[in-house]
């Protein structure tokens, strides 16, 4: 039953993404690519790119996108409800605990331990996008099949982001336009 699968997958994404924003990525990857195969790695990369360029959280954007792709508008609604339901429950529960005990210390201890684990898993998600872009035929062929253009684009973008703190949207659009121009110039388009 596809609707139930969508609901449960996004319920887990909603329930385990601590830290907001990028923290949802490893969980989306886990459920949507690895477990159910609803999106390919390149679709996932495009989804993350689109999420960066539109308002709205990655988790909600993914629920709507994947739901629509897999099971139409009803799928999108079911997935979106799934992804926000844990928030509604946890936030209310925490608010209640907070009013009762006026103490979030144990929770803060847990969150501070979770932060490095979440960073590590976002790195994995980032590499899941980077590696197939730079080595299209898989990491094992890194010696023979490297997309130099994609790798140079990545390095330049990374440098610009770090050095000039440029708006990420601008950097991404710049990379897209650069690729388009090169393909046009070499008339492979």
């Amino acid at each position: 039953m596809i609707y139930l699968q969508l609901f449960l997958a996004f319920l887990q994404i909603g329930a385990f993404s601590f830290g907001g924003g990028y923290a949802a990525m490893p969980l989306i990857q886990n459920q949507v690519i690895d477990k159910y195969g609803w999106l390919s790695t390149s679709d996932f990369s495009d989804l993350v790119t689109i999420s960066q360029m539109t308002p709205g959280p990655i988790a909600v954007n993914s629920a709507t996108f994947v739901g629509n792709q897999v099971a139409g508008i009803l799928g999108a609604i079911v997935a979106t409800i799934g992804v926000i339901l844990p928030s509604c429950i946890f936030v209310t529960l925490l608010a209640w605990l907070y009013v009762k005990y006026k103490n979030l210390k144990p929770l803060q201890e847990v969150l501070s331990a979770l932060a490095p684990a979440v960073i590590a898993m976002i790195t994995t998600a980032g590499l899941t996008i980077l590696v197939p872009t730079v080595v299209p035929s898989g990491f094992a062929n890194i010696a023979t099949d490297v997309n130099i253009r994609a790798f140079v684009l990545f390095l330049v973008a990374f440098f610009v982001l770090q050095k000039y703190k440029t708006d990420p949207i601008l950097v991404m659009v710049g990379c897209g336009v650069a690729e388009l121009i090169v393909q046009f110039a070499t008339s492979s388009l």
Binding site: G21, T64, T92, K105, P116, I122, T133, G176
Partner: protein, 189 residues
């Protein structure tokens, strides 16, 4: 019940969710500006606690922030209005994009743009985790560095499920909090 307040909550989160780029933390700041500084429906100190609760809960920060604000002002009906306002814009935008994506994915110009942007979005993510990792290293807390490295190896090289890693770290954090609390109690004795 105050329908005027509910309407105001709905349109405020709807507006913020439609036009705010840059993720959950930006939205939370704007929610504070709206409901604390402009409307004076929540006082400043209370808002700080609400924001802490929103950021400590799993899920999208923008959704969590809307939930706490809606709850504080109008209870459960407030939550419903705030959450609907927060998710309707990304739902509509991503549904439209999803429909276009299927139609345009194979257009050669779009294809080239998306391919180039994959390098860009990888750079954005790697740049974010690079900064986050630097901050963890600066804390010079060995346990955090171990969690970071171990989670990465487990997740990237051994494909250990993200949810499993998160659960283990939560248990670790709880044990740590428990031991700390006990020590503090002994000191008081």
């Amino acid at each position: 019940m105050n329908t005027k307040k509910l309407r105001k909550i709905f349109f405020s989160t709807l507006y913020l969710s439609s036009f705010t780029f840059g993720g959950g933390y930006v939205i939370v700041t704007l929610l504070k500006k709206k409901f604390v500084d402009e409307l004076h429906w929540i006082d400043e100190k209370e808002m700080l606690d609400l924001v802490a609760i929103a950021q400590s809960s799993p899920g999208a920060i923008a959704v969590n922030g809307s939930i706490v604000v809606g709850y504080k002002i109008c209870g459960i009906p407030g939550i419903i209005c705030a959450v609907l306002g927060a998710i309707i814009p990304p739902f509509i935008i991503l549904s439209l994009i999803s429909a276009c994506y299927t139609a345009f994915k194979n257009n050669s110009v779009i294809k080239a743009l998306l391919l180039g942007m994959r390098s860009g979005v990888s750079a954005v993510i790697i740049s974010v985790v690079y900064d986050m990792t630097k901050n963890v290293m600066k804390e010079k807390d060995i346990s955090k560095i171990i969690i970071l490295i171990a989670s990465f190896i487990a997740n990237y090289y051994f494909n250990v499920n993200a949810i499993f890693i998160i659960l283990i770290v939560i248990v670790y954090g709880l044990i740590k909090a428990f031991i700390k609390a006990r020590k503090e109690r002994e000191v008081l004795k």
